[in-house]
Symmetry: D2
Subunit: 327 residues, 4 copies
């Protein structure tokens, strides 16, 4: 069974609300600053189960704007997924990602690697501030509160996402929650929104799923080093594909299949994403090397997820209708 | 007058068909393989004039599939724009980019820097071929002709673009037509299509405009090292903004303003594009450094134009409605 | 007291064999594949103490060529240094690094990022093998054993070094022993030989010192992905500088002071090393920014330690006689 | 005949002062700011001939400190070498490179890409100045003249070199004299000193040899963006190897053979240099791929020539005694 088909089966299984599936309401009381096999699971769940939980913001502030965790990106979890073993794929479909308080914050100047060094260096008025944004869920927008910024009242539509979704990394590594990798982590991809399905390669028994770092909205690259940082109400359903090897996180929407490569330099992140997507087409969609390369040459799309974390993240994606658009 | 406004005025001036504007029909008889001040202009045109001309494909084959130029990317031009001086901005609006023959070609394996080295290296069946695509203008699609590629009959919609638009480079450099830079050149951006307006910094009297390297369609990154390479019928109108300094090519559509940075590594291309777009917002749209950074943090978009040319090209862009979405 | 002077004082203190200093003979029985705060110390030592111990090779083979550890780079330790606290600097002077068996091994083709992708890709005869080298301590050389390699009998002088010296990383990260960083780790620098003094920033109580990955010799860059991998007899003395902040490993010999930056891309490793060395000159040697920059412009030297590990390592160094060669 | 042997033969031919060889005294009266096929040769010379000439400094100042050329790096030449054709190798041995005036200048702060962006950005006292150095040829040193720099009177030994040696580039490109490439150019390698022999791939009839950009001394990386910039008295002898294909500049001394790769990012420069050196060993010294890789793994050395020019330059080198140190 192909990975993609398997994922869809599992997703529909989740959606059908099979008899055995449960919904867990989990209120976190502690948070983690590493993605690690060493953290005690907070909850054991089965494939098909839904989890209703919360995340706090990147500096550890919760829905009441109380600090209950430490920066950076304190994580909710880990959740132990029964039956998950190294060599499997964990599937996570996000059903709710919603800001749980009326303000978000973000930085106000570009991060060091996003702009020409000479420009950053000579900019006389450079002064990093943390800016508050008012979130208006009714209107679906966020607005800068400060009156000293030009122009005043910058407004952007909400598009809530999670900066971090991870399993425990391979090789018994414990990775700071600032960092993305093959295990997921701080990918900071603005396409990781409600309705998407994420696949992660399992390296430890139980997979050990972490979530955190909600953004009410984020631009490509996360160029100020963070986004509209806010606590979130989160709901997701997990699935499991046994004995399926993937090299990097994969993401699926109604329109696209995508792969998320993380590394420095930026080009290496792109290389990982490209190769992972090509492997996918060759393994599951009937393409050989030249067929997949030809399609990539004319239909591949890239998104730049982040250029500010210890590893940068590039997304390679292809519209699903191209996968069947042939004889 | 702000650059953006100026460009719009000039564009509408072009569109209005002012009394003085002419339409030139130019049939090229020779082609150039460098962008250089040293090439004799083929035609002198005035701001507001329209040019109806042709380009040949990246290996020098014309509408009759006869070889009349040399690889790579033989250029039509240069056109001398009257009144253009170093320090001005040349404006080019594309009104027609249309394949002029029924077949295009492309390579069939990924270029060296687009994929994981270990994957490229170990792929047993690696075998570079040049593939022919049939162009069906009625249906608006191109289809792989070969029967040995899996799957057979890969089909993609047409989206014609120009890989190369350039002025003569600064510093009396003569740059191979494989290469993009501040002067434009081989940017290989799949967003450079009919309806877009390109702005280029003028470095030589008359600007010396080159066009070439038509693609019937191209994916992000141009990852096979070329695209659906084809000869084109091309029409464009030129404008001029006097004494306006820009650092990199700028592109405008109904929806977006964009900047195109070219360099290696990929990150430096991104840095150039980001800084150029920020300068634009600060100069023309009432943003200060923090305001533009904040907006970028939550609304900036990047496209990866090419990762195969001697310089890579990254596009930074922002939706125009964000530019006025504030108090 | 300046860091450098402090280090020298401590070193001479070590050398003088103060009354309280002890020599510990430690025979390892287990090995670690992460640099981590979580590993139980094998021995507690005091500043000034000397440790006589052993390391096994990068694949876990000991002096008897028995496999007793797992790849990659199984580490001896960690050693708990009494009194070491976060914010201190651990000083390690190496007094013996000597191969403990008569053969070493190395790979035989270049690693993916060291050579032009097109060359690696097209090289028909590419065939990775593990080659055995005979170590002749009397003559001080190693010789390739295989008869199928051209030319036969390649010989190189021995210059034993340690690929890995580390303290526990910051942020409770557990880092695979393939990787270098601010904490030291798998720097793979061929200048880390007997007679050098290494300084590492302490992040955990007791510092937690790891050593491993001995190389009988290694070229710049470690371009085949490993070196003359061999088990070692190792002796070192530790010191401690209280409340001294350094950002990256520093190394001192009779002739040079050096800093070791690790990151990808290569340029970022170089940037870390350069900045760390400049901070050193500005803090300890009476240079201001322009003075240190001027000296760097005309006397800085770089070594490329490795371009094959998850982070690459670049060494910035300056001859000590330049530090006093002024009015 | 192997390239290396050929070079040696030619060099000894030069040295022997064969009957036909001439010495040309050439006093330049104009200078060039591009390396280009389009410049009129100033002199026609034969293989074996010696040229005695002068270069001016990077800003165009001559031995009398009069400005007679334009920045950057105005070049003396081009010299037309009789018999040189595309596909040949031009050989240049430097016999004199000597400062021709008593002062040099250099910048005083690190260039943008050499140091951590955050350090460059936050450095309060950053203030770029051009500093004068007094050259004392008797003592063989240069000393900073300014009294405001700490410490005062920084002194470095002279080690005169040429930043630029080039032939006309391929593809009819005209390249700014700020830039190095396969044609040589602004490599800024501090090992290009008297006694070295440089080999450059010929792309145009007559090769068209340029020289310029003398440095009284330079550190690795040329990290302040320039070096001890000074006018020079220069003498060199040229040779020619017919129909020998090389990809990048090669340099030979009594001790080493070296290759100079130039590109961005830094790693790509390293890749070019590594592959060029491996090709050399495989073509001329009896090594196969594994043999040369094995030797590189344990005996390769890298120098970082420059990290400030539009392309960076890395030198791969190997001691000549390793080339024969086998059965």
């Amino acid at each position: 069974m192909s990975l993609s088909v398997a994922a869809l089966v599992i997703i529909s299984l989740m959606a059908s609300g099979s008899a055995v599936a449960e919904t867990h309401h989990f209120e976190p009381s502690q948070y983690h600053n590493t993605f690690s096999f060493a953290h005690e699971p907070v909850l054991s769940i089965k494939p098909g189960d839904r989890v209703v939980t919360k995340t706090i913001d990147a500096r550890g502030f919760d829905a009441d704007n109380e600090q209950v965790g430490e920066r950076p990106n304190p994580q909710t979890g880990p959740f132990f997924v029964e039956g998950a073993e190294p060599g499997d794929v964990l599937v996570v479909r996000f059903e709710k990602i919603e800001p749980s308080r009326p303000t978000a914050w973000s930085s106000s100047v570009l991060a060091p690697y996003t702009a020409d060094p000479a420009f950053l260096r000579h900019e006389a008025e450079r002064k990093q501030t943390t800016e508050t944004w008012d979130i208006d869920k009714d209107r679906g927008v966020a607005t800068v509160a400060s009156e000293t910024i030009k122009p005043r009242g910058i407004e952007v539509p909400l598009r809530p996402m999670l900066g971090c979704v991870a399993v425990a990394p391979a090789r018994k590594e414990a990775v700071a929650t600032s960092t993305p990798g093959a295990f997921g982590g701080n990918m900071d991809y603005n396409g990781l929104v409600v309705g998407t399905t994420l696949m992660l390669p399992v390296s430890e028994p139980g997979a050990l799923l972490f979530v955190g770092d909600g953004h009410a909205r984020q631009g490509d690259g996360e160029v100020v080093g963070n986004a509209l940082e806010v606590s979130m109400d989160v709901e997701f359903t997990v699935g499991l594909i046994k004995e399926q090897k993937i090299g990097w996180p994969r993401l699926e929407t109604d329109e696209y299949i995508m792969t998320l490569g993380s590394a420095r330099p930026l080009q290496q992140a792109l290389q990982h994403a490209t190769t992972e997507l090509q492997r996918w087409l060759m393994a599951d969609y009937g393409f050989d090397e030249r067929g997949s390369s030809l399609l990539f040459g004319h239909a591949l799309e890239y998104d730049i997820a982040n250029v500010v974390d210890p590893h940068f993240t590039v997304v390679a994606k292809i519209r699903k209708d191209f996968l069947t658009r042939h004889d």
